[in-house]
Symmetry: C2
DNA sequence: AAATGCTTGTGAATATTTTCACAATAATTA
DNA sequence: TAATTATTGTGAAAATATTCACAAGCATTT
C-alpha cells in the first residue's frame, strides 16, 4: 500500500493532465506536468515508476494514455456512488458541484433529519436520515460525505460505518476515527485558513 | 519557518482542544490530545517543544492556557479579514459557514462577475468583481477565498495577488501558483474523493 | 548512418519526519 | 518525608520522502 501524499499527487497529475488536454497537449514531459501539478520533475518520474507508468525516453508521456492509466489506478474507470449526509448550505453546494459528475463521482442521494430540507423527488433526492441504512444496503453504496454540524458528526459517522460505508469525507470540524477496513478523510475549513494566516505572518516576520 | 504539516497539526490541536473544553476538560495529557487530533503523543509533545509550549511533568497541559498560546501562534488573537470571489453555490455556502465567525475569521465581502449574483446590501455584500482591487486597498485585506470555475481561476488569482492579497484558499480544480511573499492553498474536492476511493480499494485488494 | 541533444528511469545520497526511549520531575501515596 | 507513579521534554534512532545525478535510450540533425 502506498502513501497518502503519493496518491494525492497521482490524483493531482490526473487533474493537471485533463487541464493540459483542454489546451491540446498530446504529450507531456515530466517537467511540464510537475509545473502544472506543483511538484518536481524527479518526483513525477519517481511516482510514475512506482506505479509502472512508463513514458518514452526523449518523447515524454502520451496524455491520453497516462490519463487512462491513472483512471485505472484511481478507480475512475467506473462511476463511484456517494451519499451525502447534511443538506445544509455546504451539503447543497456539494450536491450541485459540477466537478463530480465530470469525474465519475455521483452523489446519488442526500439525507437530513430536518423535515424542511427533505426533497424526495429532486434530481438528487433528499431523504430522511432514518432511511439511510436501508438505502446504503439496497444501493450498495461504499462512500459518503458528511456535512452535518460538529455535534452530530460522530453519531452520523457511526451510523454510516455500521451500515457498511467504507470511505467518508468529513467536513465537520471534528476528527472522526475510522475503523478497520474503512477510510475517513477530514477537511477542516478553519484549519486550512489558519494555515494560510500562519504562513503569511511567518513570511512577514522572516523579512522584517 | 516550520513545516506545513506541523502547523496543520497545531491547528488541529487547537480545534480538538476547543472540543475538549466543551466537554469540561481543564487539563489534557499528550495522549488525550493525540487521540482527539489524530496524532501520536510523542508527536504532540515534539510539536509543542518546537513552539515552546510547556506542560507540567505529570500534570499535563492546561486547556485554556494552551488554546491561548496556540491562538497567538496561529494569528487568532485578532479577527482576520477575508474576501471571497465567486458567489456560486460553494461561495455562498462558505459565506454562511458558521465555523468562521466563531474562529475569528470574517468574510467581509464577496465578488462576482455575474450581475444576477450581486447583493450589495446583504449582510456579507456581494459586489461586482471590478471593485475588488479598490476594496482590497481600502480595507487592507490580506486574505481571499477563490470559488470560481476552473477557467476563471488563474485570472482571478492574478487580480487578487496584484491587488495585494497575500494568502489564498483556492477551491477551483487547478493548482494556482503563488509568487514571492504569498501563500496559496489549493483544495481539490475531486482529488480528496479520489484518495478515499483509492484507499478503500487498496484495503480490499490487500485482504483479498 | 553516425553524432548530437533531450528526456526518462532509477539507484544512491540527502533531507525530513516520526518514533523511540529514557532522564527529569511533578503529583500522589504511604 | 520518602517512595512510588505518571507524564513531560528531548536527544538519538529509525523510517520515510525527496532530490540528485547519470546511464540508458529515443528522436532529430548532420
Amino acid at each position: 500500500m502506498h502513501n497518502k501524499n503519493c496518491i494525492m499527487r497521482l490524483s493531482r497529475y490526473r487533474s493537471a493532465l485533463t487541464n493540459l488536454k483542454l489546451l491540446n497537449f498530446n504529450r507531456v514531459f515530466s517537467d511540464n506536468l510537475a509545473d502544472a501539478a506543483g511538484a518536481t520533475s524527479a518526483q513525477v518520474r519517481k511516482d510514475f515508476s512506482i506505479f509502472g507508468l512508463a513514458g518514452n525516453r526523449r518523447g515524454g508521456y502520451l496524455v491520453d494514455e497516462l490519463i487512462a492509466q491513472l483512471d485505472k489506478i484511481l478507480g475512475k474507470d467506473k462511476v463511484q456512488k456517494f451519499i451525502l449526509v447534511g443538506a445544509g448550505n455546504m451539503g447543497k453546494a456539494l450536491m450541485n458541484y459540477p466537478g463530480f459528475e465530470k469525474n465519475s463521482i455521483r452523489i446519488i442521494a442526500a439525507f437530513d433529519i430536518d423535515q424542511t430540507k427533505l426533497a424526495p423527488n429532486a434530481g438528487t433526492p433528499v431523504l430522511p436520515l432514518e432511511q439511510v441504512k436501508d438505502f446504503i444496503a439496497k444501493n450498495s453504496v461504499q462512500f459518503a460525505i458528511i456535512c452535518v454540524p460538529v455535534l452530530a458528526a460522530p453519531q452520523v459517522s457511526e451510523i454510516l460505518l455500521s451500515a457498511g460505508i467504507r470511505g467518508i469525507l468529513n467536513f465537520a470540524p471534528i476528527r472522526l476515527k475510522d475503523r478497520e477496513g474503512c477510510v475517513i478523510e477530514n477537511i477542516n475549513l478553519v484549519t486550512e485558513l489558519e494555515n494560510i494566516i500562519y504562513f503569511v505572518k511567518a513570511l512577514d516576520s522572516t523579512n522584517a
